[in-house]
Every structure is written in C-alpha cells, then in structure tokens.
Amino acid sequence: MNWAEFFAMKGYGLYVWGSYGAAFLVFIIEIILVRHKRKITLQQLRLMRDAGEGQ
C-alpha cells in the first residue's frame, strides 16, 4: 500500500480525514485557549497586585 492509496481511503478520504482533522483541530484550539486563559488570568492578578501596591 502506498501513501496516495492510504490517503485516498478507497474513496472515503474526505470523510475520514475530515473527521480526524476536525477533531484534532478542535483539541489543539482548546489547548491554546485554556493556556491563553491562564496567561490572561495571571496577568490580571499581577495588575491587581501592582494597583494594590500603589495605594
């Protein structure tokens, strides 16, 4: 079996890769979003800390 044949999935390539592609794309986006949220949350806490020190 060569790679072209493998990716063709006997004519079901669009459906098979469309499923796995979408699923893993969603996983990657979710990972980026939760990490981004942590970064933003920590930034806000540091802003609160700096504002508190100024008083």
Partner: protein, 249 residues
Amino acid sequence: MAINWFKYAAPASFYGLAGKMVPFFAWPAAILFALGIYIGFFVAPTDAVQSEAYRIMFIHVPVSILSMFIYLVMAGYAALGLIFNTRLSSMMATALAPTGALFAFIALWTGALWGKPMWGAWWVWDARLTSELILLFLYLGFIALQASIDDPRRADRAGALLAIVGSVNVPIIYFSVKWWNTLHQGSSIKFSDTSMHIAMKQALFIMLAACWLYVIAVTLVRVRSIILERERNTQWVSELAEVREGERS
C-alpha cells in the same frame, strides 16, 4: 493516621494539586492518541461492509461516549455544589462544560461525515442524532446561563438546576438506538460480542482512554484559572509565586 478527605475540596489546596497532576494526564493522552491512531489505521483491517469509512468510528465513538459521560460528571459536580454548597464542585462543573460542548460538537461533526457516505445524508432527524444535538444545546445553555449571571454563586445554582434537569437527556441518547427504530447503527461496544476484530477493539478502547485523559488534563488547566478568578481577593492567591514574582506589566 487520620486522613483529611476534604483537604483537596478546598480551592487553595486543589489549585496546587491540579497543577501537579496536569502532565500526568496530558502526556499519556498524547501517547495513547498516537498509539490509537496507529492501530486504527495501520493494524485494524478494512471493514467488510463499510470499507475504510468505518475508521471514523475510532474517533466518533469515544468522543460521543465522553460527550454523554462529561455531562453526567458535570451535572454530578453541579448537584454536589448545590446540595453541600462546596465551591470547588461548582467550579469543576463550570470547567467541564466547554469541553463537553466541544465533544458533543465533534460527535455530531464526525457523525455527519460518517452518515453521508453510509446513509447518503449528512443529517437525519433520527432519535440518536436529535438527542445528541439537544445535548450540545444543553451544554451551550449551561454556559450561556452561567455567563449571564454576575454573582458566581447564583450562577452556580442556576446552572446546577439546568444541568440536573437536562441530565434526563443522557439516558435518552444512550438508549435511543434500542427504544426507537433509528437509522443510526446499534452500539459498537458490546461486551459479549465477538464480531469486532481484536485490533478494532484495541484501537477503540485506546482512543477512549486517550480522550478521557485529554478531558481530565484540559479541565484541570481550565479549573485552575476559574479558581484564581473567583478567589482573586484572597490571601493565598496573592501569595502564589506565579502572582507575586511575575513581571510588572
């Protein structure tokens, strides 16, 4: 020796524990995904009826099972928070909802891509598909309801009621293929059945384990941000190294 079972029910102690646990779920998830994909595509044979299209099963079935399971866990945490007034349980429910919604979405998406070549339609108003769509709406409703209430404790209580009432939908999804004459095929995982090739079963269970670990890892990361947000005015948060020693902005 007395063990304090409630030690990690306190957001302050759970925050640290969750942070330490994330890599223990994230790395095995990545390894199992790779292994599951390998077995699913290179070891498992072509299906006699559905040819190569059946390989969608290895992502569709685990994600669909978890979309239902996450909902029950979310409703369970929400109920605990409502009954015992434990803040952390409510935060866990809030942290699980986005992942549950994404899993319900992937279940519907991969289902559509499987349905098109097998049934000739992306979508049918079949009992299984419709009840899974309602599950997605329940997740989105839970998220929207909580986001619309400013007071977090009131948002927890309102969300909990929605989650608990909505959990009646989960057995409807699960049993829909038995109760009604649906276009959707019956359960792929049957414990007594020998019709599935051993490599197909292995790929399915490995992908299920991978998804499970992924959900735990991503939820732990999300709940840590929720804990920090909600506890931002407490002493322990201001004393955290990542807050105290972080750069000036």
